[in-house]
């Protein structure tokens, strides 16, 4: 079974703090994605990566950056957290051109 592990299930941060969300997969998948999920807005793509050190902007990249130094790890960085970044963040992986996506359990971030 594919395992996608997100480092923290729940985080509470203060406005202006730097936040790291980490995602690790154990199946050697090429593609990794970060989405945020908000009620009524579905899953919105923030960034994705199709290879080590490669990244592409999704639909809502503003206020976020990513890092992929190793194939199995994809990090989402909020340089200066703001209250409007309070959300559920989901990491997903897939092999090759988007086939079945495997999601992590999610990280619920609250920014005060």
């Amino acid at each position: 079974d594919v395992k996608v592990t997100q480092s923290s299930r729940y985080l509470v941060k203060r406005t202006g703090e730097k936040v790291f969300l980490e995602c690790v997969q154990d199946m050697d998948h090429e593609n990794m994605f970060w989405y945020r999920q908000d009620p009524g807005l579905g899953l919105r793509l923030i960034y994705f990566s199709y290879d080590v050190k490669m990244k592409e902007k999704g639909d809502i990249p503003e206020g976020y950056s990513v890092s992929r130094e190793k194939k199995e790890r994809f990090s989402l960085i909020l340089e200066s957290a703001s209250t409007n970044q309070t959300s559920m963040y989901l990491c997903a992986t897939t092999y090759g051109p988007p086939g079945e996506l495997f999601f992590g359990e999610g990280s619920r971030l609250t920014v005060l």
């Binding site: 807005l41 579905g42 994705f48 639909d59 989901l90 988007p98 999601f103 999610g106």
Partner: protein, 111 residues
């Protein structure tokens, strides 16, 4: 570039049928369907890769009309276990491996 799903919510009685639609303003390469139960991660249902393709999974099936840039998910003789939020994900032609999702359709099946 998010696809548009309709309806936003639907309530069914067990045994009733439902259709969820997904449409895009861009030419599509593939359409994915996922279901998410409350408090859980989304789970893959199926992918449609070719225009006109239809797939089935139990009593859940889907079609993909490439020309109209639309897909529909059909839930037949719904069961209580079908309750959840359904998302379509679309891969746009010539946009790399980017997969974007719609706003979701909340489905509730009552006894």
């Amino acid at each position: 570039q998010q696809p548009v799903q309709s309806p936003q919510a639907v309530i069914l009685r067990e045994g009733e049928d439902a259709v969820i639609n997904c449409s895009s303003s861009k030419a599509l390469y593939s359409v994915h369907w996922y279901r998410q139960k409350h408090g859980e991660a989304p789970v893959f249902l199926m992918i449609l890769l070719k225009g006109g393709e239809q797939k089935g999974h139990d009593k859940i099936s889907a079609s993909f009309n490439e020309k109209k840039q639309q897909s529909s998910l059909y839930l037949t003789a719904s069961q209580l276990s079908y309750s959840g939020t359904y998302f379509c994900g679309t891969e746009i032609r010539n946009a790399g491996n980017m997969l974007t999702f719609g706003g979701g359709t909340r489905l509730m099946v009552k006894p």
